[in-house]
Symmetry: C2
Subunit: 275 residues, 2 copies
């Protein structure tokens, strides 16, 4: 275990327990959801949106979502210093005996984990990033699409496709060849004054950074379309942006042998997302 894992701090249902039950269905079946968010000076960033998405994802799986107050209490207890940090919130369906079925009165477990903000290379902001084009294709499952659930083996396998530290993320297509997302970020392609972000009705994770850009793009005089997009179309974009709650937004300047000149939209989006 490395230093970062040793220093992790967490609460399970508000308690500094020694560990999670091996009967938790989060372990058995990935039966739960999660959020990853910035905590700035003790306050969870874009909290309303983060909690709304957590509640929606719980509802999609018929998991009982902890109240906003209870989660805010956990965060207050855990992030008791002024340093910016990362909160990961996991909500599992709870503990049950072996088997896919579960009792109607099952009680969800909540886990809040504190960790350091990743040390992203400064060059990602100043010069843009390179993406790997993943060989793994995302399977289509409309019943789970968009939800940030704990079944993330596709992301794990896709992320294992490259070791080069100069690669910031991997672009994922679905089994039909449509562009969906990256392993840890969502994707926008700009064509003139239009931003296109892939539809996530069949697979993929609808992140909060993506939601914020969709909501606020008009402030930058951009319109947003959510629609399916082929790789060919993406490669013709004027520029391409990846985004998530921790990195904000980075421009992609290198993908699949093609290069784009560095522009300024990524900095404007980071301002929108991180400040």
């Amino acid at each position: 275990m490395n230093q970062e894992t040793k220093n992790a701090q967490y609460l399970i249902n508000g308690q500094t327990s020694s560990g999670l039950s091996v009967l938790d269905r989060g372990l058995s079946y990935g039966d739960g959801v999660f959020r990853t968010l910035l905590v700035k000076a003790g306050l969870p960033h874009h909290w309303s949106l983060q909690y709304q998405k957590l509640a929606e994802d719980c509802q999609a799986l018929n998991i009982s979502c902890p109240s906003e107050d209870v989660l805010l209490q956990d965060i207050k207890a855990l992030f008791d210093d002024p340093l910016d940090a990362v909160a990961k919130i996991i909500v599992t369906r709870g503990e049950s005996a072996r088997g896919y079925g579960y009792p109607a009165d099952i009680s969800a477990n909540r886990i809040v984990i504190k960790s350091q903000i990743p040390a992203y290379p400064a060059i990602n902001q100043t010069h843009g990033v390179s993406l790997h084009l993943c060989q793994l294709k995302l399977g289509l499952q409309p019943k789970l699409a968009g939800v940030k659930h704990l079944n993330r083996l596709e992301n794990v396998l896709a992320r294992a496709e490259w070791n080069d530290v100069k690669i910031a993320d991997g672009l994922l297509l679905d089994t039909d060849g449509n562009v969906i997302e990256c392993t840890m970020s969502n994707v926008f392609a700009r064509f003139g004054k239009d931003l296109i972000t892939p539809s996530l009705d069949e697979c993929g994770v609808a992140g909060t950074a993506r939601a914020l850009i969709i909501k606020n793009a008009a402030q930058l005089n951009l319109s947003v379309k959510v629609e399916s997009m082929s790789l060919d179309k993406l490669m013709q974009a004027d520029e391409m942006i990846i985004c998530n709650s921790l990195l904000g937004a980075w421009q992609v300047v290198n993908l699949n042998g093609q290069q784009w000149a560095k522009q300024k939209l990524d900095a404007q989006l980071r301002e929108m997302l991180l400040n």
Copy 2:
């Protein structure tokens, strides 16, 4: 928590630890595999095949599989009485900091859980079982197909489609409409002297009971074909069997409005699988 969860006994890496690390990637991403098997008078049933499948599944995900000896020691320690019971073995990739990537030297975690043999209704053996036809369709992901991994939300959602205790399992088709499996069992259809079991190259879990039937069907003067099968074709079968390591084999006598007369193959297969 009900009585069964209270009484669970388990070992984490051979120790009676109080719980699992919240940084275990089995929880974070379902990044692991599992087996469920009978332990008869302290001895794991069909152990060679179970261990072989565990090792193959670990290899499919590039997870370091615990040695056979280490797992047998865990089982010996946990199953120290002569009663038949169920062992669930979970192997996760191990613990890591937040993020889909993992260090090359990550150390797998093994969890062995003891539980009681399920109290299946006797009528399932004497009269056969009814299946629910699931609305959820399995997504196609050849990189994970066949592997008994911890990303099982499809099974959880499918199992939640019915509450009727007279339904023994739910039949799952894939998004192309092919018959694949049930939520907790594999499927065989008999046409004369041919047994057909669905190909699991695109999705589904290849269980050990299925492997044993494929291997030993000739003893019952049956040949086995592994191929894709539509629901229409399945409905025309002379009989239909579901199987897993705990229940052995049950004949399906009721599916989607169609009924089949009870026959004797299920009893022969149970003899092969459970004794």
